[in-house]
């Protein structure tokens, strides 16, 4: 098969629409046609009992159409939201209701739904609704959750939702044999995805047809459909969910159903009118999802070369008020903490704890950044203790290229063994050191010192399990005009799926890419899917598209072989024409093969008419459609992997610290990544760029600042510091350098590994490493800002036993 498109940086099909203002995001749907709009009364308290809800003043606001509370929900809609991914270790799962019932557990939880003629009026009405609360104690931060002076959920008095221990090897023996041991306490603060488009839902009930169509800015349209059908008591076949253009997800849109994904369709059905809701930015801060908050305690035993003989990790994960997504994040932390290394023995214990804050579900990286931070800070600490180069210590611990497949002996997030399929970590490190100028840096640092400047260098390595199952599918259909419709079940939020999957289909089928049209995330077009997360779309849907296209091609060759009276093995498809190899005159265009695949051939178009020239008289003794066949030229297939495939990468950074202001500048940043074969290198690079930016954001700028009353004090873009271009090292200024490596995956037909999350995973570790190198102060908590660094440096020189002073929302220096 000629690969004309695979591996090429084909320009995106999506861009023609998106650069001309013709995107269609959920809030754009049916604009100006009088769709009712919803707003919600959300709890101002982190924890409270709802005593009374008085809507009397709101009902009279002109333009208000309906007001709903939990008491208006019926059937399954009145039940708690589902726990999507249960786990035996999740012994105390809790979820909320689509509209709060009796008690709220985080500020921002939806209590009352107002439906009005427009959002302005809905907000006016919401402001007039009086809710009587009995405030209850807030529980904020892991320290408070662990201390359990107060319980988030009354029936979970210790605030522990889950506890899990995984062990590989003999830890005690490892420590006994280790000449050196170290202990570390680390912390990463909570952050969040913050896509530029918030959540949005648009629901339309067709009373004539008794069917519901819902548009949602979701990463999992198929599952949202199933959830809505179940919660509203509708037959699955009468509910369709479409993810239109989605303005970013980064994980925040993977958990489902959001309360609004239930209540908006509920209202649409009740009212018999289209209803929409578009989340505003402040709502997104307090009612979407956060992630990252963990505390780690690490004990490591190692030898003189820095090889880890025993690694004992305990960590505490802040899961917020509810656990709809189970414990995927801490499981990912537990398993991916190992990175590219093979410690002699490993034990990881975690507790996932409730706090009266927004729920915690995966954000790009999904627990990996925390695990990598833990491991990479440990590696640095080992190197410091032994006086060894930090890259030498890491290299001593690498899994070697000839050791694949490598079984880490743990169970991964997909419930399958953590077996790395392929990789070459030593080569990555060599490439990285060259890109960043590692070996020459001691001189660079010294020369800078002489000028009174503080420079430092750091690195971080990671392995990322990508493409978890259980499956994805694709449907490929050749139309009579020769165009190809491809439908996949999972969704897009900017990854270029309409382009990359067209590349695969075009290559497999031998058609020009302009002839291929890809639809994603539309349950009308494809019914079984899992969703876009865990860097799985290229692996899963890519493989499925390849398989489905191969099936379609096989059929095309079979049908054409029969018509041309040759053997299918003599045929190939080039530029959309099925022809005998080496004898192009014996050919038939693919569109006409499509016509001929269907015994029913009304000549509705020119292609159909033209196809009749090829038609042979039917065999009177055989049925027109054979027993194992179908009409039409289609292929449908699913890809279901035996387990995840393991991408990997390493980053390094040179930072400069202003000696007087402690401002942190990234002078240069190098990335080496391996995602196996790449469908579209331009798109892969774009994913890495975006991930690195979010990683830097999380390391130096972003955190969710909760006060002790459970109020999110930085719930706006003024105080939640999403970086502008000026905060991110730029390739055009020579500050960002990318290198890549390809170790194909043996697990899927195209040898692909996922790339979506790669950029973000090691960044906090890298920058902590570099800052510590520059100023000689241990960096054990992220994010890091100039004020905190200033206090750390000052505290270091004054009293090293007092804890670092961090800026505090309360106005008190802690």
């Amino acid at each position: 098969m000629a690969t004309r498109y695979f591996g090429q940086s084909i320009k995106r099909t999506e861009d023609l629409r998106l650069t001309t203002g013709r995107g269609r995001y959920t809030d754009d749907i049916a604009v100006g046609t009088g769709t009712l709009e919803a707003a919600y009364v959300r709890s101002p308290h982190a924890h409270a009992r709802i005593i009374d809800i008085d809507v009397a003043d709101a009902i009279d606001v002109p333009g208000v159409v309906a007001i709903y509370t939990w008491e208006d929900l019926v059937g399954a809609a009145a039940e708690p939201l589902p726990v999507l991914i249960p786990h035996p270790a999740l012994h105390a799962p809790r979820t909320g209701y689509p509209l709060a019932r009796d008690e709220v557990h985080h500020a921002g939880e939806a209590i009352v739904m107002v439906v009005a003629q427009n959002r302005y009026l809905a907000e006016d009405a919401a402001a007039k609704i009086r809710v009587d609360y009995q405030p209850l104690p807030a529980v904020v931060g892991l320290d408070a959750a662990r201390a359990a002076q107060h319980a988030v959920h009354a029936d979970v008095p210790d605030n522990v939702a889950a506890r899990l221990v995984q062990t590989v090897g003999d830890l005690d023996a490892g420590f006994a044999a280790a000449p050196h041991t170290l202990e570390l306490n680390l912390e990463i603060e909570r952050s969040c995805s913050m896509p530029l488009e918030g959540k949005a839902v648009h629901a339309r009930w067709d009373a004539d047809d008794q069917s519901l169509r819902v548009y949602s800015s979701t990463q999992a349209s198929t599952s949202v459909r199933a959830a809505i059908a179940a919660k509203l008591g509708l037959p699955l076949g009468k509910v369709e969910v479409i993810a239109p253009d989605v303005g970013g997800g980064f994980g925040a849109k993977i958990v489902h159903p959001w309360p609004e994904e239930i209540t908006v369709p509920f209202a649409a059905v009740r009212l018999g009118r289209p209803v929409k809701w578009t989340e505003d930015r402040r709502e997104h801060f307090v009612s979407s999802a956060h992630e990252r908050g963990q505390q780690h305690h690490i004990r490591v035993g190692f030898d003189d070369a820095g090889r880890i003989l025993a690694l004992d990790v305990q960590f505490w994960h802040d899961n917020g008020a509810y656990t709809p997504y189970g414990i995927i994040c801490p499981i990912v932390t537990s398993t991916q903490l190992l990175g590219p290394y093979k410690p002699g023995a490993y034990r990881v214990t975690f507790e996932s704890l409730y706090t009266t804050t927004v729920i915690v579900t995966p954000y790009r990286g999904a627990g990996r950044p925390q695990g990598v931070f833990a491991m990479e800070r440990t590696m640095d600490a080992i190197a410091a203790r032994l006086g060894l180069d930090r890259t030498v210590v890491r290299a001593a611990n690498f899994i070697q290229p000839d050791e694949f497949p490598f079984d880490q002996g743990l169970i991964f997030q997909d419930g399958r063994p953590l077996i790395y399929d392929s990789g070459n970590y030593p080569d990555q490190l060599i490439m990285l050191k060259e890109l960043i100028g590692w070996d020459a840096f001691d001189d660079e640092r010294r020369r800078a010192r002489d000028e009174g400047r503080l420079l430092g260098i750091g690195l971080g390595c990671y392995v990322e399990g990508t493409g978890p199952g259980p499956y994805e599918g694709a449907h490929v259909q050749v139309q009579t005009d020769g165009s190809v419709e491809v439908a996949i079940g999972l969704t897009s939020q900017g990854q270029g799926h309409q382009t990359v999957f067209a590349q695969i289909a075009a290559d497999e089928l031998g058609v020009p890419i302009e002839k291929v049209r890809v639809t994603t995330g539309d349950t009308r077009r494809f019914g079984y899917a899992v969703g876009t997360f865990a860097s799985r779309a290229a692996v899963m849907s890519g493989s499925a598209v390849a398989l489905a296209a191969r099936a379609a091609k096989a059929k095309a060759l079979r049908v054409a072989a029969d018509i041309l009276e040759v053997d299918a093995s003599d045929l190939d498809i080039v530029d959309g024409v099925v022809a005998v190899k080496g004898s192009p005159s014996s050919a038939i265009p693919l569109g006409q093969v499509a016509v001929l695949s269907n015994p029913l051939r009304y000549a509705f178009d020119e292609a159909a008419k033209a196809a009749t020239q090829f038609a042979k008289p039917a065999d009177p003794d055989k049925p027109p459609v054979a027993e194992d066949d179908e009409p039409g030229l289609e292929g449908k297939d699913y890809y279901s992997p035996p387990r995840s495939t393991f991408a990997s990468g390493m980053h390094a950074a040179v930072v400069e610290i202003d000696p007087d202001t402690s401002e942190i500048a990234i002078r240069r940043y190098a990335v080496v990544h391996d995602c196996g074969n790449m469908i579209n290198p331009m798109i892969v690079e774009g994913q890495v760029h975006g991930g690195v930016a979010q990683g830097i954001a999380g390391a130096l700028y972003e955190r969710m600042a909760y006060d002790e009353d459970g109020q999110l004090v930085n719930a706006s873009f003024m105080d939640f510091l999403m970086p502008y271009v000026t905060e991110i090292p730029q390739a055009q200024l020579g500050q960002l350098i990318l290198g890549h490596q390809e170790t194909p995956s043996p697990l899927n037909p195209l040898g692909i590994k996922g790339a979506g999350e790669a950029g973000v995973i090691p960044v906090s570790a890298v920058l902590a490493s570099a800052v510590e190198d520059a100023v000689g102060v241990p960096i054990t908590a992220m994010p890091l800002d100039p004020s905190t660094l200033f206090e750390l440096r000052r505290g270091r020189s004054a009293d090293s036993s007092s804890p670092p002073t961090r800026p505090d929302a309360e106005g008190v220096s802690r």
Binding site: A39, Y40, R42, P44, A107, G108, R119, Y120, E123, D124, A126, A127, D280, R281, R282, E283, V286, S287, D660, T661, S662, E663, Y701, A705, V713, N714, A715, S716, M718, D719, L721, P723, Y724, T726, E727, D785, P786, S787, F790, E791, R794, T805, P807, D808, A809, G811, V812, S813
Partner: protein, 294 residues
């Protein structure tokens, strides 16, 4: 009451006067329950978050007579509708009072400066405001007009508290005056912020004047984000004893708070560090000005 979520403003009655006289009549009538809308870059988010719900909005964007910027030998007079961008780019204004373009370059981003007005940002009285500090340092004034007449309010009297100016509810700030930089002088404006364009964690505006021998004769600095109102300090003596003394004097003069983004001690540190850097830059500018003048 500000609601915790929601980004649509509460209803208001909108007025679009076309003359100052009309605007003043309106303010006399609705001032106490109203707000003036000029650039809106600070006010509209406040309205969106319902942190304020004025019943009336007096939109002065149609008042052509307020869209003025005049420069003479005494200084720069900025009309209420002059956008930041216009002032920033006005060569004459920049020659007369270089702190203006230096400070304005730090105000948010160019897109915000296209609409935001300089007088509006003064009326907003934000101690983190760049122009607020420049007005205080240069000893400028704000002209406030009402149906009862007009008055000039000195900077020291104008900034009453954080986000609180001396304007009465029925008054409109029609212009602001920034005195020209003295001869043989140079200025600098430095700030440290978390992101480019953000409010400063701490900022310093510095003015240095040289004597006939080109020695430093006067050093004065204004500080933003370090107290409830801009802080102006005469550092002439402290600077004579050395940069460290000036930095110490600056640190002693400011009264910053700890918040989400920085501790009070860090802000104090910045005040000291930026003082040295800004004064040295201003000295260089003063000398350069002398060279080009000669």
């Amino acid at each position: 009451m500000g609601q915790d979520v929601g980004m649509k403003p509460a209803p208001f009655v909108w007025h679009g006067p076309e003359t100052v006289a009309e605007a003043l009549d309106l303010l006399a009538e609705v001032g106490p329950q109203g707000k003036v809308l000029a650039g809106g870059q600070s006010l509209v988010p406040v309205l969106a978050m319902r942190l304020a719900e004025p019943a009336h909005l007096v939109d002065i964007n149609r008042i052509a007579e307020l869209d003025t910027l005049t420069v003479d030998e005494t200084g720069v007079r900025i009309g209420a509708l002059a956008r930041h961008r216009r002032v920033e780019r006005d060569a004459a204004a920049g020659r007369s009072q270089p702190l203006l373009p230096q400070a304005l370059a730090m105000v948010a981003h160019p897109t915000i400066r296209n609409r935001g007005t300089s007088v509006g940002s003064l009326a907003h009285a934000d101690p983190s405001g760049e122009l607020t500090t420049v007005l205080a340092l240069t000893g400028g004034t704000v002209t406030a007009a009402s149906t009862a007449g007009s008055r000039e309010i000195a900077a020291a009297d104008f900034f009453v508290g954080p986000l609180e100016s001396a304007l009465r509810p029925d008054e409109l700030a029609t212009s602001a005056f920034f005195p020209a930089l003295a001869a043989r002088s140079g200025t600098a404006f430095l700030e440290v912020s978390r992101r480019h364009g953000d409010y400063a964690l701490c900022g310093v505006a510095a003015t240095v004047t040289l004597d006939e021998n080109d020695d430093v004769a006067v050093v004065r600095c204004g500080y933003l984000s370090v107290a409830e109102t801009p802080v102006v300090v005469d550092l002439t003596e402290a600077w004579q004893s050395g940069g460290d003394d000036a930095a110490a004097a600056a640190r002693a003069a400011v009264d910053p708070i700890t918040d989400l983004h920085a501790t009070a001690d860090y802000r104090r540190q910045l005040a000291g560090v930026l003082t040295g850097r800004a004064v040295r830059q201003a000295i260089a500018a003063a000398h350069h000005g002398q060279e080009t003048a000669a």
